[in-house]
Amino acid sequence: MEKNRTDVTRCKGCGYCVAECPKQAISFGDHMNAKGYLTIVVDQEKCIRCGSCYRVCPDYVFEIL
């Protein structure tokens, strides 16, 4: 079930969400976006929809469903 939809074309790889996630559901993947930033992946199983990633993200990557 999709809980956290990400638009990784916006991601700049700052890693704030990776550090903020209380369940360690976010990690850096191996996908590089058009701007050349290493982007994040969300483990939908671990996500608890707390919205911490949404709050700290400066580039509006996350949408909590």
Binding site: K12, C14, E20, G51, V56, P58, D59, Y60, L65
Partner: protein
């Protein structure tokens, strides 16, 4: 809990560096404006600096002011658009260096505008030079051996400068960490509410990391902000808050 960034800030990709706080500040303003139903009426003024990149990534009626004159441009707009909320968005370079006169006189007159000031302790867009807000000992492009506080002064604190003035609201938040960001959003909301009640100058300073010019990785910049910057720039409400 469903969360989606407001369309007003997401129609375009932002041009800020990775880890910059401006993106969060823009989102908080858009969220508060939409929650209060003021998004169509809000008029913003931006400065000539990194903050002006918001011209391309937020959908509000926006005036780009001359450098450092963001706050007075907003005051002028408020005088002719009395029913619209008017917000001045600028940085510490504009507020406390080139626009120091405007900052002080706006406080003296207690003009009814919202000021959102993003403080990153350096001049960001020009390449990271020493600013009045630079911390003692902080290495910048123009102070490679660290800022000498005896020679250049201590970091400028707005709550000290405004201590004798009777302004509507004065608070300082930080744009790192979910808890701080939630608190910053409440401060911005309070500023909007007081502004709509014509209570005078509503001033919110937001501490932002600048990983590019601090020469730190974004997460290290976050730690620097929380460990070092908050020693000189305490967070909280100084005037007009409910606590005092």
């Amino acid at each position: 809990m469903k969360l989606k960034a407001p369309e007003r800030v997401t129609f375009n990709k932002s041009g800020f560096c990775p880890g910059c706080g401006h993106g969060v500040a823009g989102r908080l303003i858009a969220e508060v404006a939409e929650e209060m139903g003021l998004a169509d009426k809000l008029i913003t003024t931006v400065d000539v600096a990194c903050g002006s990149l918001h011209l391309e990534d937020w959908h509000f009626d926006t005036v780009m002011a001359a450098h450092g004159r963001t706050l007075v441009t907003a005051i002028g707009l408020k005088k002719v658009r009395k029913d619209n909320p008017v917000l001045a968005y600028y940085g510490d370079g504009a507020g406390y260096a080139i626009g120091m006169a405007e900052t002080i006189h706006a406080g003296l007159r207690n003009d009814n505008v919202i000021a959102i000031v993003v403080n990153n302790a350096i001049y960001g867009m020009t390449g990271g030079q020493m600013a009045p807000t630079t911390l003692p000992g902080q290495k910048t492009t123009s102070s490679p051996y660290g800022k000498d506080a005896a020679r250049f002064g201590k970091p400028f604190r707005i709550e000290d400068a405004y201590s004798g003035f009777d302004i509507g609201y004065l608070a300082r938040g930080a744009l790192v960490g979910a808890a701080n960001i939630n608190r910053a959003k409440k401060m911005i909301r309070k500023a909007f509410e007081k502004h709509m009640n014509n209570q005078g100058l509503c001033y919110v300073e937001l501490l932002s990391p600048c990983p590019t010019n601090w020469n730190l990785a974004p997460l290290k910049a976050k730690d620097f902000l929380l460990d070092e910057m908050t020693k000189h720039f305490p967070l909280g409400e100084f005037k007009g808050g409910d606590a005092k």
